[in-house]
Assembly symmetry: C2
Homo-oligomer: 492 residues x 2
């Protein structure tokens, strides 16, 4: 076992502190001097870029095209959709002026009171309003539909309590917005995008997710249905990792987006929107990582293999050469490799650092092992070390990366599955939910029951899960009849 | 010759109007309802994405890593670098509040006066200040240098007169920021990035550029040297298409970014920054396009080949099949293909539409031509049509795309070179500059001469070009001795 890094808090001591430390120490992100806004550091951003690339390709395969809409939204736009304004016109950054001027004593700059905007502008918290205001001019006939648009951008919601990646005032995301001629097509699209998110989470992030539909209380402001993927973190809490909304004709009506159907009659367009954000970074970190640091799925690791030489100074040219050979072979297989022969850091420091950064495979090129035609391989997920012959080493590593990808998914899924409980007794629920986990409980469908659970336990209905065989029963809180079980958990 | 689209203003009639119409009609971008901010439409954004991908790879090849820094900048940051605040703390969007609340009569939302920020925040016009404020914590030793960071993001400068892509209040760009241990290394980096921009412009955009260094007046606010690439539009005006700045230690000092050098002494870090923006879209459009619409270089065209079938309804299944075969072959060569067999548009409409959109190669699959084993190929740059046999057609098209790429660069370069004039007489200059063109004139190096030229002619010194053999002479305005010639032109 590699030596544990004594400067990282253990998960068992303080999971929350462990997370905060890990994000900073693994060079993923840090707080900026602007309240609630983060700096995403190069190593963290490289993971986000890999996520973006995969998701973007998945979207485009379904016909989605990227575009870009303005950062600023006129205040009045928010008011056009009644529920939407309730949800989003609260904590947001408001632009009121468009000029600064030098102070008279030249000691700095002040806002120029003469440069006040007639109508204040809001930094987008989400872009339904400005996009549907634009769609009005793009949609005339059923032949213009479906319209499938996505943008990668920054958004801002003025959060009071922030945590790196999980909840920040500014964050990066993609927001897809589609317009359709029929209700059925829009509903299908909303579900299709949720399935893409689930596939991405499971196949690339190696994060198992529960797919389902939100209760009315938890819906996106302005949606008729919100679909969600919910992941379980190692502390048993749920992290909502992506949502897809069926918006009905709410925005079509609010922004007068009508089209002529095949019968030449005007109809309002049907809408969806769907998004994932840099919050996914939080899900990735909290699902797999351990007390030594990050554990990254090979599919998203910026560096998949690190090669570290160990030898005397005279042996270094030979080791450099061997490393270059191996590196070239791995790159030819599409594997990203870093060779670290920096002479100002001891191997032990490097080992700990790449463990902290979650590099899936470490190859130690030791002069003595090489004499035997061998290298030492360590896999980050299990920390197991093994000596492997040079012959066919590239193929061995390629297989190992695939095995790690499978293994961390299986590990996360086994962990999660072992903490999903059916529960029919509210007293028992209240006791057990303190330790985390996903609870499948019958719900009578009322807002009252939902509110009581939240008040008593701080847990919420995460979703009505799709993949659970539903049988009617009795609501554990109210004792009233319940048609189905919902997934309840404490959450981020 | 394809029929000219009568709805597009001719360049000879009104170049400016032609441009504005073309951007909208070719579905590249449009004005939004937010003053000065544009919507980049999917077709325009697809070109921008291709630009991003190429540039991003070029940056990364030189060791640059992407990161992300906050959108909002504390007002006081701008004041820390004396020249920088002069240049950027003027027309910018100012966030003063962080909450809206419902009006008492529920008729809308208003800014909550209780939610006023202690210090106003500025939407970044450029990010030197917040990035160097961050670098302070990232840089301790010479071993942390060079630090090579880039971000792709939106920025905002409150422009009074805007034009799509060329000058908009919000625009998309990349901004690279690097920190170095020595002056020499920073200067080299600034020049290296300029060369990358020039290579990108010429090899991918097919836009010939003049590389040079700006006069003091035209420098970036806070820079010791600003390097630039200047392109000539078809009206003979210059378009500054990318800049790279050597910032000296100005930001290192302003934000206290010091490192210990090899001798263990503290020094301020040396800086560069460099950026290109969606303005490149304007350069691309105005360099190549004609009265029929866009002409896109194949290297950046979202659709490189469009296939259009012509035949009777009964022949369509056969044509669909032939198109699928050809499409698959082209895709295997890495060529992007669109097959348009929409039955609600006549072929003539499709021809005009894809010409407007600048698709480099059009293949007409005519039932009659196919009987002879031929298709009709049209190349967008020359509008020439030719019948070509099906045998080896994919290879023929691949070569043709390369030929088009070369040809439009040569055409643009020949045009530009024919409009670069050496001029030694100010009266002659004043007369001729009205018709556009780049003028190489001796300059005495004074701000006075520069100002007089601008006042008299609205032309400015674009740069001291690198690739001109310089001989001393006499300033055409002042009659004083001049060490070199500068490039003078009217500009966008």
């Amino acid at each position: 076992m590699a030596k544990e890094l004594d400067f990282l808090t253990k998960r068992s001591e303080d999971y929350s502190k462990w997370y905060n430390e890990l994000v900073v120490k693994a060079d993923l992100a840090e707080q900026s001097d602007v309240r609630g806004c983060m700096v995403i550091k190069p190593y963290g951003y490289a993971i986000w870029e890999k996520m973006q690339r995969v998701l973007d390709d998945m979207f485009k395969e379904t016909g989605v095209q990227n575009a870009y809409f303005p950062l600023l939204i006129p205040k009045s736009f928010l008011s056009k959709e009644a529920e939407h304004v309730e949800g989003f016109a609260k904590e947001c950054a408001v632009v009121t002026h468009y000029r600064l001027k030098a102070k008279e004593d030249k000691s700095g700059v002040v806002v120029d009171p003469a440069a006040r905007l007639e109508e204040e502008l809001i930094i987008r918290p989400t872009s339904e309003t400005i996009i549907w205001n634009t769609f009005r001019n793009w949609i005339q006939s059923y032949r213009d539909l479906p319209l499938l648009v996505n943008q990668w951008c920054n958004v801002m919601r003025w959060e009071m309590r922030t945590r790196l990646f999980l909840r920040t005032s500014e964050f990066l995301w993609q927001e897809g917005h589609t317009a359709h001629a029929t209700r059925e097509e829009a509903e299908q699209r909303a579900q299709q995008m949720l399935k893409i998110y689930a596939r991405f989470a499971e196949d690339y992030m190696a994060v198992p997710v529960v797919q389902g539909v939100k209760s009315e209380t938890e819906r996106f402001a302005g949606a008729l249905d919100t679909y969600t993927i919910e992941a379980m973190m190692q502390d048993g809490k749920a992290l909502q990792s992506g949502t897809s909304h069926f918006l009905g004709q709410n925005f079509g009506k609010a922004f007068e987006v009508q089209f002529l159907n095949k019968e030449n009659k005007a109809e309002y367009a049907w809408a969806t929107s769907w998004g994932v954000s840099t919050r996914l970074m939080g899900a990735l970190i909290m699902t797999h990582s351990d007390d030594n640091g990050l554990v990254l799925p090979p599919a998203l690791a910026p560096i998949q293999v690190v090669i570290i030489p160990i030898g005397k100074e005279a042996q270094m040219p030979m080791l450099d050469e061997k490393a270059a050979e191996l590196g070239a072979k791995l790159k030819a297989l599409g594997i990203s490799v870093k060779y670290d022969n920096a002479d100002n850091k001891r191997p032990g420091f490097k080992f700990a650092d790449y463990e902290l950064k979650g590099v899936p495979v470490r190859v130690v090129l030791g002069a003595r092992d090489l004499e035997k035609g061998e290298v030492e391989i360590m896999r980050r997920d299990t920390l197991e070390k093994q000596n492997v012959g040079l012959e066919g080493l590239d193929g061995y590593i390629k297989n190992l990366l695939e095995e790690i990808q499978q293994n961390i998914f299986k590990k996360a899924k086994d962990y999660r599955d072992s903490r999903i409980y059916e529960c029919d007794n509210y007293e028992e629920f209240k006791e057990r939910v303190k330790d985390g986990g996903f609870f499948l409980c019958h719900w009578d469908g009322t807002v009252e029951t939902e509110a009581k659970i939240k008040e008593d336990t701080n847990a919420t209905i995460r979703c009505v899960p799709f993949d659970v065989e539903q049988t009617p029963g009795v609501d554990m809180v109210s004792g009233k009849p319940a048609k189905y079980r919902v997934l309840i958990a404490r959450s981020y």
